[in-house]
């Protein structure tokens, strides 16, 4: 039903959107670490996360993009802001920063950059222009088949997925028990 439509529709102005989203992600990412005001940093981080979600969409992974928006931009960042708002920003912005961890941060950033570069050089065949265009219309169903299996068989990641969800459940229970004095 959808296949006829989606194979015919080429994405609109792909290079423009790619550079737009990548630029937005980089600029707002820089703002995250350069702003002194923590709320401004958090808001910039939201812009970064949303641009990355847009990049996922361009890689024909709409499900990952949707989850990125719900979990990170909608859920985690709300909690971030929630906590930051309770901090006295005026004072903490004026505080003299005495930690000297920026060399470590620089080293970590360089390591990450070299990882990306090596991935770009060695894994050229994994990039979208070398791959067959995936069916955007059935992306969610493919993820479901991977995670839960189909036609009665277990998918390749079913076991790992269930273990991870069990771990998260334990974490939820732990958080509830820690906050409640008596259950």
């Amino acid at each position: 039903m959808n296949s006829v439509v989606n194979t015919g529709a080429a994405p609109v102005a792909t290079p423009f959107f790619f550079y737009f989203l990548a630029g937005a992600a980089i600029v707002s990412g820089l703002l995250v670490i350069t702003r002194r005001n923590a709320v401004h940093s958090a808001l910039s981080l939201i812009v970064t996360l949303l641009s990355v979600a847009g990049l996922y969409l361009m890689l024909y992974a709409p499900f990952v993009a949707g989850v990125q928006i719900i979990v990170y931009a909608g859920g985690i960042m709300v909690l971030f802001l929630f906590v930051i708002m309770l901090v006295n920003i005026e004072r903490s912005a004026k505080d003299r920063q005495f930690n000297r961890i920026w060399p470590v941060g620089l080293a970590a950033a360089c390591a990450l950059l070299s990882l990306f570069v090596s991935a770009f050089v060695k894994g050229r065949n994994l990039f979208p222009d070398r791959l067959v265009a995936l069916q955007e219309s059935s992306n969610t169903q493919q993820i479901a088949a991977m995670l839960y299996g189909e036609a009665g068989r277990m998918g390749p990641y079913t076991f790992a997925f269930e273990i991870a969800s069990l771990l998260l459940l334990v974490a939820i229970l732990g958080a509830v028990i820690m906050t409640k004095k008596k259950i």
Partner: protein
């Protein structure tokens, strides 16, 4: 240009999927204008309905029966001084209303007013809606923080706590409706908004009635959670005026305040659309599989015209009942013109229904079909909008700890139970 314009009329998929950018743009503009108009209308209806609930008249001075009141309000808000408090964080104060507004309006790109009457049919439709509407809370939080004032901050904290907790129950209720799309031997499920309505059509049942009472319970949970999500009475604690003045938008005035208002009402329409799409058959008219045939199609396609004819009749009765004094003459003429306008729309709709009754492939037939879809969808959403007003007039405000208790200890377990039972029943039946 004309070709591109006409090409869409025969299409059976949304313009976003048919790669028809011109029509997608036209749809975006139509939806934006339509939603803004609906918000204005809702503003008037809410004030009038609330007034009548409380045995008052409501706005009566600006135009006949206060019909021009929303326009006067909008003008006033645009002309009012726009204050930014001295101690506020100016940039965030500026951005906050825009976040809420953008989140509320972006959602409309995937709302299906008909099988091809949507901007786009995304594979992740409902997920996209959930995600983007959950960004709306960021607007409230940032507004509360940027105001640099006590009441807005408390309002924002309440609001974020409330929206985060009710989102959980809401999401679980949505998942149990999504499970129903894949059950009953119809193959794979779908997250696409259009796919969800089509699944209801194929299975011959609105999901509210499926696996009775499981679908109904999930729907009720969603209906409660969506009131909390949109910060409406009885869950309007973020702006509880007796405790917090006006909550998160206390420091806002003029145009920026009206942006908050617009965003809130647009979000109300959006969540009502989700409920209609998931549980109430979306654009489908009543009994689309039972009462088939062109005769029934024709009878149901008369409904839009008859609705407007009824509204025109009410307006005419209002004209006749105006006091016969010179003071009311202009108002009387105005109401008569309004009634005549409604009557003309009714005539136009009826003419389209009659002209398009035989041939579905003709332009009149396509128009008739489209009007039918949009009419039934909007009618169902309108019922929800009226319910929002009705709740506000009926129920007293919750206390915050009660609200949280209901969210986490009642709604969440019930929605989890419904989800598990839906899965079990679905597996057993198919």
């Amino acid at each position: 240009m004309l070709n591109a314009f006409m090409s869409y009329l025969g299409s059976t998929v949304p313009p976003g999927n048919a790669d028809n950018q011109l029509w997608a743009l036209i749809y975006v503009l139509i939806i934006f204008a339509g939603v803004s108009l609906a918000v204005v209308a809702m503003n008037w209806i809410e004030r009038k309905a609330l007034a009548h609930f409380q045995i008052r008249l409501g706005p009566m001075r600006v135009g006949p029966h206060g019909l021009l009141q929303p326009i006067a309000d909008a003008l006033k808000l645009m002309l009012k001084e726009d204050i930014i408090p001295a101690q506020a964080d100016a940039v965030v104060f500026w951005v906050a209303p825009l976040i809420g507004l953008l989140a509320a309006f972006t959602v409309y790109t995937v709302i299906p007013f008909g099988p091809s009457q949507a901007v786009s049919d995304m594979n992740i439709g409902i997920l996209f809606m959930l995600g983007v509407s959950s960004l709306g809370v960021l607007g409230i939080i940032t507004a509360g923080w940027a105001s640099n004032s006590h009441y807005p901050l408390i309002g924002a904290l309440r609001s974020s706590a409330q929206m985060v907790s009710y989102e959980v129950a809401m999401g679980l209720a949505i998942v149990s409706a999504l499970l129903m799309t894949s059950l009953n031997r119809t193959g794979t499920g779908t997250l696409s908004m259009i796919g969800i309505v089509e699944a209801q059509q194929q299975q011959g049942v609105w999901f509210i009635f499926k696996f009775f009472p499981l679908g109904l319970i999930a729907f009720v949970i969603f209906a409660i959670a969506m009131i909390a999500e949109t910060n409406r009475a009885p869950f309007d604690l973020p702006e509880a005026e007796s405790e917090l003045t006006a909550g998160f938008h206390t420091e806002y005035s003029g145009l920026r305040w009206s942006l908050f208002m617009l965003g809130e009402y647009a979000a109300m329409i959006a969540v009502s659309s989700i409920a209609v799409t998931l549980w109430l058959g979306g654009w489908m008219r009543p009994f689309p599989n039972l009462l088939t045939g062109s005769a029934w199609d024709f009878i149901f396609s008369l409904f839009p015209g008859l609705t407007f004819a009824g509204l025109a009749a009410i307006a005419f009765i209002g004209t006749a009942r105006m006091p016969a004094q010179a003071y009311f003459r202009i108002q009387r003429i105005g109401l008569a013109v309004f009634a005549a306008l409604l009557g003309l729309i009714a005539l136009l709709l009826l003419a389209i229904a009659v002209a398009g009754r035989t041939n579905d492939a003709s332009i009149a037939g396509r128009f008739r079909e489209g009007i039918d879809y949009v009419y039934w969808f909007v009618l169902k959403v309108a019922v929800f909008m009226y319910l929002f007003i009705w709740y506000r007039a009926t129920w007293p405000r919750y206390r915050f700890d009660q609200l949280m208790r209901v969210g986490w200890k009642v709604m969440l377990p019930i929605s989890l139970g419904v989800l598990i039972l839906t899965a079990i029943v679905g597996v057993l039946i198919s």
